[in-house]
Symmetry: C2
Subunit: 107 residues, 2 copies
């Protein structure tokens, strides 16, 4: 990868909320409302950051009923996050989230 392309990847990582989203997604797929609960940011804000990450092809989305689930799509980003943030060990269920996983509807 050339410097231009590589710097564009780092650009995506150079933002605390995007970083937190990617940290969550490297551990498991999450819907938007889950990421809202994790970050404590407004829904529109999360959707905007997800769009940026989607357009950079670092994440992909998959619709399931009312929810849209996002997952990490870049092995390089996964490796870089492992190296910089260490092992991911984030809570599975959040009290502030009503998503199918957090409410126990899905495993």
């Amino acid at each position: 990868m050339d410097y231009e392309t590589t710097s564009e990847v780092f650009q995506m990582l150079s933002h605390p909320v995007r970083l937190q989203i990617l940290d969550e997604l490297r551990q498991r797929e999450s819907c938007v409302c889950h990421l809202q609960a994790v970050t404590g940011r407004p829904q529109a804000y999360i959707s905007q950051q997800l769009r940026i990450l989607r357009e950079a092809k670092l994440v992909a989305d998959e619709k399931d009923g009312q929810n849209v689930f996002y997952h990490l799509r870049s092995d390089l980003v996964r490796e870089v996050l492992d190296q910089t943030l260490g092992e991911a060990d984030l809570p599975r269920h959040l009290p502030d989230c009503n998503c199918p996983f957090c409410s126990g509807e899905k495993a």
Copy 2:
């Protein structure tokens, strides 16, 4: 490292010229004029980017006569660059550079 601090490191890497400078520095220490020759950018521009990297504590400088030599100071950045840019194998001597290394004055 928290998301805020980590994102600040990535911020430094999210710029093609800074990335090229760090790529050079992970292989060997370089003076400013060498980095000028490597990047093809004006001297003032390089000095500005070096100041940003210096203030972020990713590089350090050492004066030697007329020259100022910079070197990489962060193991984390070195590891991340190894992972993203691969093995560094950049030319030792540049025709456009008059620095002590390039002109053969120093080994």
